[in-house]
Structures are given as C-alpha cells and as structure tokens.
Amino acid sequence: MLQYTLKRILLAIPVVFFISVIVFYIIQLPPGDYVSNYAAEMSVAGEGFTQEDMAAMRADLGLDRPVYEQYFIWVQDIVLHGDFGFSFNYNKPVLAVIEQYMGLTLTVSLVTMAFQYLVAIPIGIYCAVKQYSIGDYFFSGLSFLGMATPHFLMAVILMFLSYTWFGDPLLGLFSAEYVNAPWSMDKAIDLAKHMVIPVIVIGLSGTADLIRVMRGQMLDELNKPNVVTARAKGLSERKILFKYPTRAALNPIVSTFGWSLTSIFTGSTITAIVLNLPIQGPVMFNALLGQDMYLAGTWLLFMALLTVLGTLISDILLAWLDPKIRTEFRGT
C-alpha cells in the first residue's frame, strides 16, 4: 500500500503544477483586473481615478506585465524561496491572510461536518431499519427541506426570525464586545451561540445527501445472507446491525469523503457572506471577484493540492474498507 501511495504522490506534483497554470490563466480571464476593480470601488466612495492613476498603480503592482511573465515570477517565488506573493487587497503577504482566517474556518467547517456525519449516518440507518415508518418520512422530509432551500435564503430567513424572536440576528461569529477580546469561557459560549444558524443551514442540506445514500445502501445490505449467518451465530441484533450492514454501507460515503477536504478549508461561501462569517470562503470569493491575483492563485493552488490529496485519501479509504479492492492493490 505504501508503494502505491508514494507513486500517487509523485504523480500528483505534475497534476498540481498543470492545474496552477490553468487556474492562473482563468483568474485573469474576465476583462477588468484588480486595478479597475479597485478604481470602481473608490469612485463609488467619491475618489475619482484617472487613466494615469490606474496606469501607475498597474505598474506598481506588476499587473502591466503579460500574464505568463506574472505567472513565472509567482511560481519562481514559490519554488525558490517559498514566497507565495502578495495580496493587493490586504497589503499583506498571502500566507498571512490565509493564516488569519484559517482557525475559525476550520472550527466552523469541522463542527458543521461533524454535525452532518453524526446526524446523517444514524438517521440513515434508522430510516433503513424502520422503512416507511413515520420517522423515516419525517427525517427524509426534513433533510429534503434543507436540500431544497438555497442556503443563503434559509440563512436570511433564520437571521430575521432570530431577530424577531430573540432580538439578536446573531450576525458574524462573535457579539461586538467579544470580537477582539481574548479567548475566555464567555467568548466560547458566544461563539457556540453564533454557530447555531450556520450549522443548521450548511449542516441540514449536507445531511440530506448522506441520509439518502446511507439509507439506500443500508437497505441493500440489510437483506444480504451474511446478516442471516450472523444471526444464526447468536449475535445480538444491535451488534449485527453495526458490524455487517453498516460497515458495508459506508463504502460509497467514504469514497467521496476525500473530496469534502476542500470544503473543510473553504467552508460554504455564499452562506458565509450572508451570515457574515469571517472565514476563508468569502475572502477567496472576493479575491476572485476583485482578481487579487496572487491571493486567489495561491488559494486555488492549495485547493488543487487538497483535491488531489482528497482523491488519494478516498482511494486509500476505499481500499482499506473493501477487502476485494485491497487484495487487488496488493497485486499491483
């Protein structure tokens, strides 16, 4: 297995490199560039920008150079001295920007994902075992509701309801007085309070897929003969349920687990904007919208790496979970 993993990692490097070329080209595809976006923003705030001002700014930022030249400088910096370039918007090195939001992003994503898996898998099993019961329809219906509503609409509605009922729309991740305050128990409670809406909005729709897939797979496995054998051996129903059908049903879920790696690091974007969550998603959305080249480029490179890693992890998990495939790999 190790040899296979090494081979895949080596293979990943050219792929990520190739992706970085495409990504860099696509970012600057739309007609305008960072400077025209900045000028547009400033003119709204009353500060007129002339042609010369914009031309000077482009020269400063090196945007007047042709695309491929910008790309080589960027990649050269990364490869030679690990400098991922500079964010125009934040006037900070790209890594500093990513680092600033990474902590909260991981917290929000991991909590939401944990909520999704911890809620969806048991419900999926329950709906399979208690097929066509009221519980089955209730949970399925609830998860469809989450899936059918666009996140940002559900987010706004929940915020407005939270305002009408509790007087506090729970904007952002912290109440005003805690934003810069050092970490304390109160701050943690405040964070938990603010996590309710994002977890419901992002979590609920995520559970729908998992529940349906889990239920479908469980129904397949529950009727397999190996369950009857286990029962004949005198195992208790609960032990049978969690050892045989559940394990087999996890196969399809795990095989796409690797890909949620990227969503862990971004968190959902449009919902985060609507809920004003200070996490990576919106930061990168604006970087792309405003064509903050190196910030967007580095981030997408990081995403590409995660996608490739995610696929690798999925394959390994697939093999580890399903002995048939594992033996096939042992052969290669």
């Binding site: 305008g32 006037n91 208690k130 519980g135 904007l171 309070k193 609507v274």
Partner: protein
Amino acid sequence: MLRIQRKLLVVLLVIFSIIAAGCTNNNNSPAPSNEAGKPSNENKSADKEEDKGGGGTGTAAAKEAPMLAKLAADGTLPPLAERLPVQADVMVEPVVDEIGRYGGDWTMAWTGPGDKWSVGQPTEEALFRFNKDGSGVEPNVAKSYEVNEDSTEFTIHLREGMKWSDGKPFTADDVLFYWEHMLTKETFGKAIYDAYYSVDPVTGDKALATVTKVDDYTFKVVHKYPSVQFLERVAIDNKWFFAPAHFHETILPELVGEDKALEIAKQWGFEDTNAFLKETGYYYWLYPQIPTLRPWVAKNDPNGDQFIMERNPYYWKTDPEGNQLPYMDRIVATKIQDPSQRVLGTLAGDFNLSTFGAQDFTVLKENEKKGDYRVITWQQPAWMTSGIQLNQTIDDPNLRKLFQDIRFREALSLGVNRTEITEIVTNGIADPIQASVQEGLVGYQEGWADQWSGFDPDRANALLDEIGLTKRDKNNFRLFPDGSDVTLTIMDSSEESANYTELLKKYYEDMGIKTNVKLVDQATLQELKYSNQVPVSIENISVVNVAYRPDALVPLRVLTPWYGLYGLYVSSGGKEGIKPEGDVAKILEYWDQIKAAGTTEEINRLGDEIVKLHMKNQWVIGYAGPTPTLIAASNKMGNIPEDLIWADEFRSLGAAHPAQFYLKP
C-alpha cells in the same frame, strides 16, 4: 424491533433541544456594547459621578474625558492645558443641541479597509472646511487667513501650541515639509491638485504656486495669477495641507534612501515602496503608528474583524464650555460582507449610527420603535436618482449622431412614465422630475425640473420619425435610414437596479427602440468605461458647485460617462480623444474663464452659464428626482444635525462634525 433506534432518537432530540436552547437565551441588550460592562471601557462608573460633580461651573480649568484625566493624573499624559493649543487659539466647536457627556463607542458597520472613506470622511480635519450651507469655507486647522486684493497672496495663520496625536508640536514646518517633500514630489500616488495652480487669464498657461514660511505658526502661499477660490478648491481637492514631518522624514526615500525605504516598507508588510508611501501618505488614518490631527486615532489592524479608533488626547477642539472633544471614546467599525447585515444590525441596535440609501426607508421606518433609533434625512446635491447618460462620443457613427441629436434625447425623456418609475424604483419617495439642480443649491434654474418631464409617447414617436428612424424591422423595432438596427445597450454592474433597467427596456421598446441590458462585474464595467465602450450608463450626477468640482459637468478627464472621449482630448492636451465642438466646447471655454476669474461673483456667473448649457442640451436625462440620504441614529446619540447636505465635497457625515456627537447613558 431494534431498541438501538429508540435510544438514537432520544439522543437526536437532545441535540436539537440544546441547539434550540442555544438561541433562546435572550440577548437583547440593544444599547451600545459598553452598557454590558464587558471588557471595554472599564471606568464607566467613574464617569457618571465625575460628570454630575463637574457640572457647568465652566470658567475654571477646561474639562477632559475621564479616561484622559486618569492618564494625566498618573503622569503618562501631560495635563490638559499643555495638550491643548494656547487658550486663545483653541477652536471652539459649536454643539448642535446641548453640551454632551463623555464616554461610549460609536458602533458602525464597514466592509473592511476597502471602505476606508466611511471612517476617513467623518474624522477628517481639513485646513479650511466648508461652512454649514456650503457657500464658502471657515477656519478649522488654520486659525485665520488674509488675502491681498487680486487674490494672489494668501497668508494663513495656524494655532499656537497645537500638537499632533503623539504630542509633537504642529507648526508651519509640517506644511512646508508636506509641500516640498510630498505633494510636489507626488509621493502618495496623487498628481499635484489643480487648486495649487493659477491660470494666466490671457495665455491660459498654468503656474504652480509657491509656499514660504513666515514664522512657526504662519505661512504664505503666492500665486502668479489671481486664484480667487484657492482655499475652497484646496478644501475640495486636497483637504489637508500638512503632514507629520517628524514621521515622514523617517520613511521618505528622498530622505532615507531607496533601499532603506524599501526595507521599512517590508517591515510594515508591504511589497513595494510606492504602495507603502501611498498608504502612509494618503490613507494615513488607518495606521496606528502615524500621528494625526483627527479626533480619533487608529488603534488596531484595519484588516481584522473589528477596526477600532480611540480618542486623540491632543485633540485641539473644545465645546463652548471648554470640555475637550470628542465626547465619544472610540469608533468601533465591525466588518460586514452584505448590505442586509447593515440593515439587520441597525434594527438590532448593533450599530448606533449608520447611513442608508432611500431604498431601505420603509424597513428602517417600520422598526424605529423596536430598534430604538430615529431616521434623519439629509438632502443630496444629486440631479436624479434614476436616469441615463448617452455617451456623446460612442464609436458607432450612427449612434453618435443620434445621441448628439437633442430631439432623440427629448424623445427618450418624454417616452418614459416618470410616476411609474418613482413609484416602483424609489417607493414613491422621489418626485417625477427631469434631471436638474435642486432648489436651494448653487446653479438652480427655474422650471428646469419640468423640462420634457411629461409622459407623451406620441410626441416621442413623432420626434423619432422626424429624426428619420421611420423604417421598422419585423419585430417593429426602428431602423436607421441605412437599414441597420437602432440598439441601445445599457450597461450596469449591480443587481440592485435590475427593476429600473427592466422598466426602461419596456418603455424604450414600446417606442420601437431595441434595448439590451448588459450586467457585468464592476471591474469589467470600469474597463469598458475607460475604453469608451459603454453606450448608455445609468450612473448618477452629483455636484455641489461646478466651480469646486467640475468633473461631472466639464469634460476635463475620462470620468463621467456622458462626455466620454471629450475628456480624453482635454486631458491629453488634444493628442487623443475627440475634439469637443458646439456647446461642449463652450463649456470648456467657460471653465477656462472660471480658472482665471478674479472675483467669486464672476466665478458663480460663469458656473451658472455652464449649468444653463446643460439645461439647454440635457445630455443627462433623469426619470426620478433625487432622494435623501438616510441616517439611522440611536435615540441615545445626541447632537446630530437634521438638515445638512450629504455630499462628497462636504465629506458626507464630516459636515456634522462628529466630534461633538455624544451618547446618553
């Protein structure tokens, strides 16, 4: 059958109830954050007693904010008297309602450093600032000035003993330093402003003024030719006319050398010196390390989730009773990412002073009681809320001839039902009038508001036939005489005005003019505008006085959509762009005369002439009159004026002199 399932269900219910409980603990402390006494402003209680005790006995030593009094007591700050300028030179800021009390935070929403002007304008301290009605300037940083009769020599007096926010004295040297090492060397990314040039009335060539120091608190500006509105135009273009010499001398490449400057820039986290100089030279109020004269000084990193500005201990203004301003301790700007959050935050009391466009009027008004705030309306000097600008220099020859034909503009104006536009787009707030200067503002023309403002489709069609657009294609759209189709492409970059553009499309197509609406992101729109590819724009026109800021009405550079490349012709000195003729050329003549004019009356008359030309040609067509800017202020915040003009020239909220805003307990 399986007991496991029942246990599972119970666990799930428990989880849901915890989550539900999470949001029921009723957090309804609407008042500004410091009410709850959490980690901010710790000496809240101290402030209450002191205020009652202090009272208005007045004449004795001037009073100061409790938090500064404490610092002065334990020696970290010099006593108040040393911090303020000499008694005679202290500037007394008139209060709007009553003498305020110290303490509290101004909580506002901003979208991050990109939104720098929303904290920049209210805290700005210009050399001379505009007076209440915007007709002229009044002393601010400068104490007073004298000017000789032909307005070529201006002697400006500063305030003795005035200090920067780091305690260093503010003298004429700072003005000279700014002039010699920053402004004229164009180190902060801005070309030398027009205000500092004077124009020879005869030859029209420009001459840069000279600035000389008279003594520590006086300097003189000498123009070669008369520059009557020099101070007004400085207040418009450059606003401040000084910089902390003791700070900038440590970073300017001219003084410390290129590589040292680059090294400092890198330390601050910048990639190149130019960006560093621009941020520190022009947008300096975002950086804690840079001394300033403003009432509040930056305290933390603007890129964080909450940007804080704290009171300037050396602020050189007091209220009529001698209390050092500003009343409020801090500005707390919380980062938001979507406009709806500003609305919700105001409703919930998270933000105690925010500004909105007219489209949020109903939502704000309905929740005034629950949110415990009041909605104040300030008039805008805009000509319209919804209108169009036809690009007079569009490339397509047919379209250009059409756009330049006044009958076409009249037809487009008459063919739209303004009552319906005002009802739908501005919720009935705006009046159904033509784009024009509003009553009470400089350049108001009687009857302009009603010019072509009726809804007369027949006359519009008659005019279009008269122009020669009689031929029609199969979908009944009009064609040019040469058979090619007449298509208007309206370009816009925001989803907000989707309703408005759709209505325009309906009315224009009713008149047989095929219309497309193209939505692109703002960077692309900017690019297209500067490459003259935007035929029809729905950008707004807003100008207080053409003499102060001509860009909207006079094609000096590529900025306003209606004159397109005329601006390029002027800014490139005739090398590029399109040569203006007819009334547009006349406007430029008037502008040259204004620059060289000797008296204010002369300038106003010429300004009026330019506005009259606009009235005659109506290059800019308006379908809904201007709507006021809304200020949602918490009922706990006092001294907010009710009837000012919201304009960029008057620095929007800055006109209300926020230093004298205060928060009731």
